[in-house]
C-alpha cells in the first residue's frame, strides 16, 4: 500500500516536470489548527495559514523572482456531527494580503471511515470568495484523505503516521472555469491524540486545460491542537 502511494507521488511529480513552459511557485504553508469541542456534538475550529513564496517564475526562462510574503489566513468554522461518521460545517475566512482583506464563506460535509488500521476521509466543500472589484469566485471541492499508522495497527502517542490527500477544485469566476488538482503527502507525529504535527509537501496544478499551466510546490507544516 505504501509503495503504491509513493509511486503515485512520483508519477505526479514526473508529470509536473514534463509540462513545457509554465508558471511555477515554490513556497511554505505553515498552518495552525485549533479545535474546541462543545456540547451536543458541536465543535469550533480556528485555522490560520501563513503563505510565503521563496521562488516564482516561468520554467525554461530567466523570468523569476525571490522571496515574497503572500498572505495570512484566519478561518473560523463551526461544525456539527450529524451521523456516526459525518459532520456538517460552515464558516468564514479572512485573508490578509499586503493591501486588502479578502472574505470567503465556507460550507463543508465530511465523511470519515475507520477501516481496521487506516482511515479514509471524504470532504465535499464549497466556498465563495469576495474580493474588491472582482467577480465572486465559487469553488466546488472534493478531497479524499487517507491516513495510516507507520507502526502497528493504531496511531498511539509518540508514534508517526502517513497521510495523503488528493483534492479536486472546480473554480468558477465570471465566465471563466478552471480545474485545480492538489496532492499532499505528509508525515505526522502524534504527541497526544489531541496534539499532532504534520510535515509534508503539497503540489497544486491549475490552468492546465489552457496553455498557461501554473504549478505550485509548497512545503507544509501543520499543527493540530484540540482543546
Amino acid at each position: 500500500m505504501k509503495k503504491r502511494y509513493a509511486f503515485l507521488v512520483l508519477f505526479l511529480l514526473v508529470i509536473s516536470v514534463s509540462f513545457g513552459q509554465n508558471r511555477y511557485q515554490v513556497g511554505t504553508l505553515p498552518t495552525l489548527n485549533i479545535s474546541k469541542s462543545l456540547n451536543n456534538n458541536w465543535q469550533l475550529n480556528f485555522k490560520s495559514e501563513f503563505r510565503q513564496l521563496f521562488k516564482e517564475g516561468i520554467t525554461n526562462s530567466t523570468q523569476n523572482s525571490g522571496y515574497d510574503y503572500v498572505h495570512t489566513d484566519a478561518a473560523f468554522v463551526i461544525s456539527k456531527k450529524v451521523g456516526l461518521n459525518n459532520k456538517l460545517a460552515g464558516g468564514f475566512l479572512l485573508r490578509f494580503t499586503d493591501d486588502d482583506v479578502i472574505k470567503r464563506s465556507i460550507q463543508q460535509f465530511t465523511v470519515i471511515k475507520s477501516l481496521n488500521s487506516y482511515r479514509l476521509g471524504h470532504r465535499f466543500a464549497s466556498d465563495q470568495t469576495f474580493d474588491t472589484d472582482q467577480d465572486m469566485q465559487l469553488r466546488l471541492r472534493y478531497r479524499l484523505t487517507f491516513d495510516l499508522p507507520l507502526n502497528g495497527q493504531t496511531v498511539d502517542p509518540t508514534e508517526w503516521y502517513f497521510k495523503i490527500s488528493n483534492e479536486y477544485l472546480n473554480i468558477f469566476k465570471g465566465n471563466i472555469y478552471d480545474l485545480e488538482l492538489r496532492l499532499s503527502p505528509n508525515f505526522g507525529y502524534v504527541f497526544t491524540d489531541n496534539n499532532k504535527l504534520e510535515l509534508g509537501l503539497e503540489y497544486r496544478i491549475n490552468d492546465f486545460v489552457n496553455d498557461d499551466t501554473r504549478q505550485r510546490y509548497w512545503l507544509t507544516i501543520g499543527w493540530y491542537l484540540s482543546l
Binding site: 485555522k47 465530511t110 475507520s114 484523505t145 508514534e159 497521510k163 489531541n194
Partner: protein, 189 residues
C-alpha cells in the same frame, strides 16, 4: 515573537504531561521478539506463513497479539507477557452463528437501541492451552468457553455511537463499551 514561541512550547509541554495518565502503546514486532511459547502455540493452531505480531504496552502490563488469515477466516490470538494464551478470536459472518444465539443477541440489541447495524462479529474461544489445541485440531470441545464479541453502530436517544458488545455462549449480554474514535481534525480541515 520569542514570547509567543515560548508560550506555544509551554502549552505543548502541558498537553504532553496531561497525556501521561493513560498509557497505551501498540507496535508491530518481528517473530524473533515474541515469547517462544506463543509462537509454538500459533504454529499448532494455524498453518499459515503470514502471521503478523503486535506488542501492546499499557498501564495493565505487556501483551502480545498474533493476526493471521487461515482457511479464509481472520484470526486474532492474544497472549500475556509470558506468552500464555488468553483467547482466540475468529471473525465470522452473522449467518455463521447458531439460530438461538442470533435470536438472543437480536432481542438484547432491540431492547437497547432504536436502530442498530452490526459491523463486525468475532467468536472468542478461551481455555487452557491443551484444550484449545484439542478443540482446533480434533474438534474436542472440553472446557472451552465461547463468547461473541460484536462491534455495532447503535442509535439511542443520545445519538449514534459505535459500541462493542460481549455476549456469553448463550447469547446473553455480558458487557458493553462505547468505542471512542481517534481525533479527526487533521482529516476534516
Amino acid at each position: 515573537m520569542k514570547k509567543l514561541i515560548f508560550l506555544l512550547l509551554l502549552f505543548l509541554a502541558v498537553l504532553q504531561l496531561s497525556a501521561q495518565t493513560k498509557y497505551e502503546h501498540e507496535s508491530k514486532i518481528s517473530f524473533e521478539n515474541v515469547p517462544e511459547k506463543a509462537r509454538l502455540f500459533v504454529s499448532k493452531i494455524i498453518q499459515s506463513k503470514k502471521v503478523k505480531w503486535y506488542k501492546e504496552q499499557s498501564n495493565n502490563g505487556i501483551s502480545f497479539e498474533a493476526k493471521s488469515k487461515f482457511k479464509g477466516k481472520k484470526y486474532s490470538i492474544e497472549f500475556d507477557s509470558n506468552g500464555t494464551i488468553e483467547d482466540i478470536e475468529i471473525e465470522k459472518k452473522w449467518n455463521d452463528l447458531p439460530k438461538t444465539i442470533k435470536q438472543n443477541i437480536i432481542n438484547s440489541l432491540q431492547n437497547t437501541f432504536i436502530k442498530h447495524k452490526i459491523r463486525k462479529i468475532q467468536i472468542q474461544f478461551s481455555a487452557k492451552e491443551k484444550d484449545l489445541i484439542n478443540y482446533f485440531n480434533n474438534d474436542i470441545k472440553n472446557n472451552i468457553t465461547i463468547k461473541y464479541e460484536i462491534v455495532l453502530k447503535g442509535k439511542t436517544d443520545s445519538g449514534k455511537h459505535l459500541y462493542e458488545f460481549l455476549f456469553n455462549h448463550d447469547g446473553q449480554l455480558e458487557s458493553t463499551s462505547k468505542i471512542v474514535f481517534r481525533n479527526t481534525d487533521n482529516i476534516e480541515f
